[in-house]
C-alpha cells in the first residue's frame, strides 16, 4: 500500500506558478521605486481632493449622493488606483520582455509554455492588485468611508478592475513592435477615463447625452462597483452587471493574450 501511495508524491510546482514566482522575486528585488505610485499617490489625491474640494462641496451642496465628498471619492480612487496598476504593469514591461530585453524569450526556452508565461504574469499582477487594494481599503476605512460589510469585497473588486485592464493590455503589448501607441493610449483613453468615469462626481452631473459615453468606459463599472461595496448601496442586479463587464474584459483579454503571446514567442 505504501509503495503505491508514494509513487506520485513528487508533485512539482505547476509551470505558471514558476512564472508567478519569478515576478514575485523580481519585485522583491526592485519594489522600492513602485511604492510611491501605488500607495502614496492615491493617499495624496484623497487628501487633496477629499479635504480641499470636499470643503467647497460642503459649502455649496452639503452632500453628494448622501455622502461627504471625501467619502464619495474614496472608493472610486481605489478603482482608479487598481486601473493604473493594471496599465502600468502591462504595456512597457511586457514590450520590454518580448522585444527590448527579451526576457520572455529566455523564459520560453525553459519548460514554460507561452500560456504559462502569460498566466504567471497576470497572476502576479492580480496579486499585487489584491495587496494594494487591501491596503487601500484599510486607508479609506481610516477616513471613515466604509459603511457596509460589503466593503470586504473591495480587495476583490480592485483585483478585478486590474485584470480587466491588464489582460487586454498585456495581449496588446505582446503584439506591439514599438511603444508609440502606448503614449497615445494614455493621452486619449486612460487619462480621460480617469477623469470622466463618474470618478469625482456622480453620473447625474453629466448632461443626458453624455451619460451613455461615461457608462461605456470600463472604469465606470469599477468605480460604481467600488462605491456600492463601500456604502452598501445600489441594486444587486446592477452590481452584477458591472462585475460581468469587468469579467468579460479580463476573459477576452486572456483569450487574446494567449494568441498574441504564443505568436510572439514561438514564431
Amino acid at each position: 500500500m505504501k509503495a503505491i501511495s508514494t509513487t506520485n508524491t513528487d508533485v512539482s510546482r505547476s509551470r505558471w506558478f514558476r512564472s508567478w514566482g519569478y515576478h514575485a522575486e523580481f519585485y522583491a528585488q526592485t519594489w522600492r521605486g513602485s511604492v510611491a505610485s501605488s500607495v502614496l499617490f492615491p493617499i495624496l489625491y484623497l487628501a487633496s481632493l477629499g479635504i480641499g474640494v470636499g470643503h467647497l462641496v460642503a459649502h455649496h451642496h452639503g452632500l453628494v449622493d448622501g455622502q461627504t465628498y471625501l467619502h464619495y471619492i474614496a472608493p472610486s480612487l481605489l478603482a482608479t488606483t487598481t486601473m493604473q496598476l493594471g496599465e502600468g504593469e502591462s504595456l512597457w514591461p511586457v514590450l520590454a520582455a518580448v522585444k527590448w530585453v527579451r526576457t520572455y524569450h529566455a523564459a520560453a526556452t525553459t519548460p514554460l509554455e507561452p500560456d504559462d508565461i502569460l498566466i504567471g504574469k497576470l497572476a502576479w499582477v492580480a496579486t499585487r492588485a489584491f495587496v494594494t487594494a487591501v491596503f487601500y481599503t484599510i486607508i479609506i476605512g481610516f477616513f471613515g468611508a466604509l459603511q457596509s460589510w460589503w466593503c470586504l469585497t473591495l480587495p476583490f473588486i480592485g483585483t478585478l478592475v486590474t485584470l480587466a485592464f491588464s489582460a487586454p493590455l498585456v495581449a496588446y503589448a505582446a503584439r506591439s513592435q514599438s511603444d508609440a501607441s502606448f503614449t497615445t493610449l494614455y493621452r486619449f483613453a486612460f487619462v480621460p477615463m480617469f477623469l470622466f468615469s463618474a470618478t469625482f462626481y456622480p453620473l447625474s452631473a453629466y448632461p443626458g447625452y453624455l451619460r451613455p459615453v461615461v457608462q461605456f468606459f470600463p472604469l465606470y463599472h469599477g468605480v460604481a462597483l467600488a462605491r456600492a461595496a463601500a456604502f452598501g448601496q445600489g441594486a444587486m442586479a446592477a452590481q452584477l452587471g458591472h462585475a460581468a463587464m469587468l469579467v468579460a474584459m479580463a476573459a477576452v483579454g486572456i483569450a487574446w493574450g494567449r494568441r498574441t503571446m504564443r505568436r510572439r514567442l514561438t514564431d
Binding site: S12, R13, R15, R18, S19, G21, Y22, E25, F26, Q29, T30, V101, R102, T103, H105, A106, A107, A108, T109, T110, P111, L112, E113, L265, T266, D267
Partner: protein
C-alpha cells in the same frame, strides 16, 4: 532507440508569410558531438536553432530530440536543453547571481540546488567577483559568459548556442571558447551557430554550411576545406579601384581566382611558388599574403559570397 541520434530533423521548413527562412534541411547529431551551423546573417541559422530548441514549431518536417517530439513534449525536451540565445536577454536591473538563481527556478529546482549551481557556474565562467553587481554594469564579454552560465543552470544534455561570441572583442572570445571546450570534454552535446570561421574550426567536430535557408555542404571543418578549397591561398591587393581588371592576367596562376572588392584571392597548393611566378610575370601587387585555406574560402567557393559581408 538506444544509440540513435540525440537530435534528428527531417525536411525542416520555416516560413514567415511568403518568406521561406529554412528550406527543407536534414540534420542528425550524435550524443557528445559538437555540431555547427556556419553561414552569414540571414542564412536561416537562428530560425533553425529556435526550432531545434523546441521553442518554435516547424512549418513543415519533423524533429526528434531525445527521441521526443517537440510538438507534444516541448516542456520535457526543454527541461533537458540549455539555450544561449543571440541576445543575452538578461535582467539588467538584477544582480548577476539573481539572474542565475531566478532562471534556475523556472526548472523547478529547489532553492538549495539553485544556489549551489549558481555558485559553481559563477566560478566556471569567472564571474564570482561580480556576483553581486548589477548586470547592467557588466562588459559585453561578461554578459555573454553569464548567459552561458544561465543556459547551464539545468545541467543540460544539449547546449544550444546562437552566435556565442558575436560582438565580442577578439581577446574576450577565448574564455567562452575554453569553457565550451571543457563542457564538450564533459560530454555535453554542443550545437553552435556562427558566422566566424575560426569559431567553427575551433569548436565544431562537424558542421553544415548554410546559405539562404539550405545546407550547401556538410562535414568536419578540415575535410570541408580539403574538399572545397585548395591547401593555400594567396591574397593580393593592387592600387586600383576595381580588382576585376586583374582577373584575366592572374587566372593562369591558380586553380581558382576570386575577386573581392578590396583584393584578389588565388587558390593554389603552394602559395610561395605562386607568388614567385606572379612576380616573375611582372605583376606587382601593393601587398601580398600567403595563408592556409579556411572555412571562409569554403563558403566563398560554395556560394560566391563572403561570410561576413
Amino acid at each position: 532507440m538506444i544509440d540513435s541520434h540525440i537530435l534528428e530533423a527531417h525536411h525542416l521548413v520555416k516560413r514567415f508569410g511568403d518568406f521561406e527562412a529554412v528550406r527543407g534541411i536534414d540534420i542528425a547529431i550524435d550524443r557528445g558531438e559538437s555540431f555547427g551551423f556556419l553561414g552569414p546573417n540571414g542564412a536561416g541559422k537562428t530560425s533553425t536553432m529556435r526550432m531545434i530548441s523546441a521553442v518554435s514549431q516547424p512549418s513543415d518536417g519533423t524533429i526528434s530530440i531525445f527521441g521526443l517530439d517537440p510538438r507534444t513534449d516541448g516542456p520535457e525536451i526543454r527541461s533537458r536543453l540549455g539555450v544561449v540565445p543571440q541576445e543575452d536577454s538578461l535582467e539588467l536591473e538584477l544582480s548577476v547571481r539573481h539572474n542565475l538563481e531566478m532562471f534556475g527556478r523556472y526548472f523547478d529546482l529547489p532553492r538549495r540546488i539553485v544556489r549551489e549551481r549558481a555558485t559553481e557556474l559563477l566560478e566556471f565562467t569567472q564571474l564570482t567577483e561580480r556576483a553581486n553587481d548589477k548586470v547592467d554594469n557588466l562588459s559585453g564579454g561578461m554578459k555573454r559568459r553569464l548567459t552561458i552560465a544561465r543556459g547551464l543552470m539545468n545541467r543540460p544534455e544539449i547546449l544550444i548556442l546562437d552566435e556565442p561570441t558575436t560582438g565580442l572583442d577578439p581577446q574576450a572570445r577565448h574564455l567562452p571558447w575554453d569553457r565550451l571546450y571543457r563542457l564538450k570534454r564533459e560530454g555535453v552535446t554542443l550545437i553552435i551557430t556562427t558566422h566566424y570561421m575560426d569559431e567553427a574550426e575551433q569548436l565544431c567536430d562537424r558542421l553544415v554550411v548554410m546559405d539562404q535557408g539550405s545546407i550547401v555542404a556538410e562535414g568536419a571543418p578540415r575535410s570541408l576545406i580539403e574538399r572545397f578549397s585548395t591547401r593555400e591561398v594567396v591574397e593580393l591587393r593592387f592600387m586600383t579601384d576595381d580588382h576585376e581588371e586583374y582577373f584575366e592576367r592572374l587566372s593562369p596562376f591558380a586553380e581558382r581566382v576570386e575577386v573581392l572588392p578590396d583584393r584578389i584571392l588565388l587558390y593554389v597548393n603552394n602559395g610561395d611558388d605562386t607568388l614567385r611566378d606572379v612576380h616573375a610575370a611582372q605583376i606587382t601587387p601593393s601587398s601580398a599574403l600567403v595563408r592556409r585555406s579556411s572555412l571562409e574560402d569554403v563558403f566563398l567557393n560554395l556560394t560566391g559570397r563572403s561570410l561576413t559581408e
